[in-house]
Amino acid sequence: MPGLEDLYREIILDHYRNPRNRGELPSPPALRAEGFNPLCGDEVVVSLELEGDVISDLKVSGQGCSISQSSASMMSTAVRGKTVAQARGTIKAFRAMMSLHGQQLDGRPEGTGAGPWANEVPAGTALGDQPGTAEALAGDGGADERSAAEVAADEGVELGELEALQGVVKFPVRIKCATLPWHTLAQALDEAEKDKA
């Protein structure tokens, strides 16, 4: 049985108490996207500025539980200053980390199966996630059975302290809290590419 310490890691609580890159950038010129979880009322607003392919600045605002707000804060530090491609790669790796593990879906007791990075379920099947979220997060709409570590390696990105959020997967109803900011970031990046096109 997972305990609260699996969910509320110290680094998560630190980002919750002291959110990084908090606020909004004037829009325009910044691109802005709003994410909303209709089930619990959590809100995340992502505004970002691009210089060429680089996310030169990014801020997040909104309201919600510790998991959604800390995930937003950690996301901001992870992708600010990175290229759009790196940001999309991090989104993919994070999405893989937030999908439920095979060992929980096939009924084997926890800890008897492969480690938490193995047997990722295909995109879009994560219990508790919003329909389409995983697919939207994947960006390419395709099923992805790679582990988060494999995705991160393939994308040339590092999850770093984001790994602290992997405990959320043991609390399926909270997964959508953690993925909300990332979903919103993906929307903002989509807007950016639409603008370019």
Partner: protein, 425 residues
């Protein structure tokens, strides 16, 4: 406006007896289980109540011995199944003071019951020149059907306003019901516990020529209900909040109204005759029960009604009111201004639901922390988003009580809340 119809004899006032909760708890098998190694403390009955063994056994027994489709077979067990199904209807009718079982329509839940009225009576009787009145504290189930009707028919939708003390501002009611065809109001707010004075509202609405629909989902499970005394024309409630199974709810309507309404869902069971050119409808209530109904669920609901009736609804109300008073006191005594409680301040003025926030800890996190102590509370907007916006909070935590809760349950809740300090303080 026609008269309310023949008023039934007022039922004798029930005696109030204390509930022996330690014995009652044993009737609910789920309360024996543990979560996270702790005793299950279930404080989310406003969302859905737990079920006593007698309800589960009644449904099992029905499936094991009697199941067949109702109103169709001429063989023995089909007759028995039909009798059980109709007996459940009669039990529900007596439980709420209906004039007869024909006024009880079985639906999927309270939501479907309200939709039934919106789609049949509403779309027949309301148009762009009429109006509907509801309140700002309604559950989405008693709001969205009327918003939908407004969108389709152009019928104006007017609102009784919430006052800072958690009650409704009734002073505007005469103006609001002027020219209105319907007042749709909750008997007990699922968020604030507010108990609008339904009879008083109904009298004003009737005087203006409007009908009255009461969302009784949070009142029928917790307090004596007499539809005539309530002054309602329709009431809606769900079995699963009153110790019964999911999948069945009730629309009570005055027979004359039900008879004049067009059918809702159509198909088998609800017809008298069908030809290739058309159909005629069955009598009420079957006119509104298309397809095979939830038979075992009706049997379970009947058993739940028996269980609650044996306790006595006046006793249930007294118990839950005392427990609410205790919980309000304990939360304030322990946490002072760090806990904010929404709704009327006095237990006498509210149903057994307590929505609260603690410091600036999000309701999700409160619920998660309490879960670790085995305590189940609801966290979120409680399907009442307009109300949450008025309260200025995105979400609240909510503890709600039923017959199987006692002071020890409240004590676990109060103690467990302190864990939030360790994590988020």
């Amino acid at each position: 406006m026609e008269a309310l119809g023949v008023m039934p004899e007022p039922r004798p006032t029930e005696p109030v007896r204390p509930l022996d909760v330690s014995r009652l708890k044993k009737d609910f098998p789920i309360l024996e289980r543990q979560v996270h190694g702790k005793r299950l403390v279930y404080l989310d009955s406003a969302s859905s109540s737990q079920k006593p063994l007698v309800v589960l056994e009644a449904m099992d027994h029905y499936y094991e011995t009697t199941h067949a489709n109702v109103h169709r077979g001429v063989y023995e067990i089909a007759e028995e199944a039909t009798a059980l199904y109709e007996e459940a209807r009669a039990k529900v009718a007596r439980f709420i003071g209906a004039r007869g079982p024909e006024e009880i329509v079985f639906t999927k839940n309270a939501t479907e019951a309200i939709n039934l009225v919106a789609y049949t009576w509403g779309r027949t009787n309301l148009g762009p020149s009429s109006a509907m009145v509801t309140s700002e504290i309604e559950h989405h189930a008693n709001l969205v059907p009327w918003l939908q009707l407004r969108g389709e028919k152009g019928t104006e939708l007017r609102y009784l306003r919430l006052r800072p003390d958690g009650t409704l501002d009734l002073s505007e009611l005469p103006r609001l019901v002027d020219g209105a065809g319907l007042l749709a109001i909750t008997a007990a707010s699922n968020v604030l516990g507010t108990l609008p004075p339904v009879r008083q509202l109904a009298d004003v609405a009737h005087a203006a020529g409007a009908l009255v629909l009461v969302d009784a989902a949070q009142s029928v499970p917790h307090t004596p209900t007499d539809v005539a005394a309530l002054g309602a024309d329709f009431i809606a409630f769900s079995a699963h909040k009153m110790l019964g199974p999911t999948g069945i709810g009730v629309l009570w309507g005055r027979r004359e109204l039900l008879e004049a309404m067009p059918p809702f869902l159509t198909g088998g069971e609800m017809i008298r005759d069908v030809g290739l050119d058309g159909f005629s409808t069955n009598d009420v209530p079957w006119k509104f029960e298309a397809g095979t109904p939830p038979i075992a669920e009706a049997v379970g609901l009947g058993a739940a009604v028996d269980y609650l009736s044996a306790l006595g609804m006046a006793s249930v109300r007294a118990h839950e009111q005392a427990l609410t008073r205790y919980a309000l006191g304990r939360l304030k005594e322990r946490y002072g201004d760090n806990v904010v409680i929404y709704g009327p301040p006095e237990a006498e003025e509210r149903a057994g639901v307590i929505s609260f926030s603690y410091k600036d800890v999000h309701a999700h996190d409160i619920s998660q922390v309490l879960d670790e102590a085995g305590v189940c509370v609801r966290a979120g907007h409680h399907c009442a988003k307009p109300l949450m916006r008025l309260l200025g909070v995105p979400a609240t935590a909510r503890a709600s009580f039923s017959v199987y809760n006692d002071q020890a349950d409240v004590d676990v809740l109060v103690e467990a809340l302190s864990r939030a300090d360790a994590l988020f303080g």
